[in-house]
C-alpha cells in the first residue's frame, strides 16, 4: 500500500507538461478541451484523495498530486480572440500529465 504519505512531486514549477489524450474511464476531473494540450506547471497544489477512485466508493488512495497548469489561450484555441498573453489555468492530476516533448530535461 502506498498509504497516505504522498509521493514526491514528479514535476516542479516551470516544467512543460502535456495533458494525456486518453479517453476518460468513468468519472474524471480533466476537461476534454485540454486533452493533448501543452502547458507549464504554475504550482504544486498538494496531494488529494484521488477523485477518480472516490467516485466509485474507493478510499482514494494513494493520494494524487495535483498541479495548477498554465496554458496559453492561443495554444488551446487556434482562433482565440485576444492577445497572446492571455492564459487559462486548470488543476490537473499528475497521472494525467506527461513531460512535454519540448522539455526533456
Amino acid at each position: 500500500m502506498s498509504g497516505r504519505v504522498p509521493m514526491r512531486p514528479k514535476y516542479s514549477e516551470g516544467a512543460q507538461v502535456q495533458v494525456t489524450s486518453r479517453p476518460p474511464q468513468g468519472h474524471c476531473r480533466t476537461p476534454w478541451y485540454l486533452r493533448g494540450k501543452t502547458g507549464v506547471v504554475a504550482s504544486d497544489q498538494g496531494a488529494f484523495h484521488d477523485p477518480e477512485r472516490l467516485a466509485y466508493h474507493k478510499p482514494g488512495l494513494p493520494l494524487a498530486r495535483l498541479y495548477k497548469v498554465r496554458f496559453r489561450q492561443t495554444d488551446i484555441w487556434p482562433d482565440y480572440r485576444g492577445p497572446a498573453s492571455d492564459h487559462l489555468e486548470a488543476d490537473i492530476y499528475e497521472y494525467w500529465l506527461t513531460p512535454s516533448a519540448k522539455d526533456q530535461t
Binding site: 476531473r29 480533466t30 478541451y33 484555441w77 492577445p83 492571455d86 492564459h87 488543476d91 490537473i92
Partner: protein
Amino acid sequence: MSTHDHDDHDHDHAHDHGHGHTHDPGPLQRDHDADAMSAYEVLETVIRTLLVEKGVLTNDEIAAQIDLMDSRSPALGAKVVARAWTDLAFKQHLIEDTRAALAGMGIDIGTLADFRTVENSPATHNVVVCTLCSCYPKYLLGIPPAWYKSMAYRSRVVSDPRGVLEEFGVRMQEGVEVRVHDSTADLRYLVLPMRPAGTEGWSETQLAEIVTRDSMIGTAVLDGSMHRATG
C-alpha cells in the same frame, strides 16, 4: 420533465405531530412547490429518504447543513475583500494560505475543498469558472448564480473570456492579461478585486458594501465613481 404533479412527495409527513418526533425537523421541505418535481428532485428525495432510513444521515444534520449554507452569502466574501484592502499583512496571509486567513476571521470553509485567492492587478484580470460542473467557493459566497452553472457561461468563458466579459459590461484592455481559472478539481477560487480609486480613507465596513458577488467571480470590476462614501 417529470409527469408527476403532486405538490407533496414526502412520504414521512414532517408536520404530523401525532407521531411524537417533535425535535426532529423532519424531511427537507421543498423550496418550490408550485411546479411538478423534476426527475432529479425525485431522485434526490428518494436517496435522501433512504440515507435517513438507513441511519447514514439524520434530518438534523441535513437541516444544519442547509442553515450553514444559508448563512453564507457574498456579504461574507465582501468582508474578506475589504479586510484584504485595508490590512496588507492579512492580504498576504490570504493569498499564501486562504484557509488559515479565513479561519483567523472565524470563517470555516469546511473540508470538502481547499481555497485559493487570486488577486487582480493592473496587469492581470482573473475570472473563475468550473467547466466540468459548478464548483464555486460556496462556503464564502453562498449558492452560485444560475448563470455560473449555465452551459453558455461554462463553455464560452474558457474559449472567449473577453467576449463574455464584454457581455457583463467589462471591456479589458489588450495590455491586461485575462487569466481564466477552471476549477477542475479540489480547489475553489476567490478573486480579490482591485480596490477602486476614490475610496481612500473609507472604513472597512464602507468598503465591504461596494464589493459585489460578480467582482469576486471576476465577471465585474469595481468602479469607485459609481459609489459615494456614506457617513
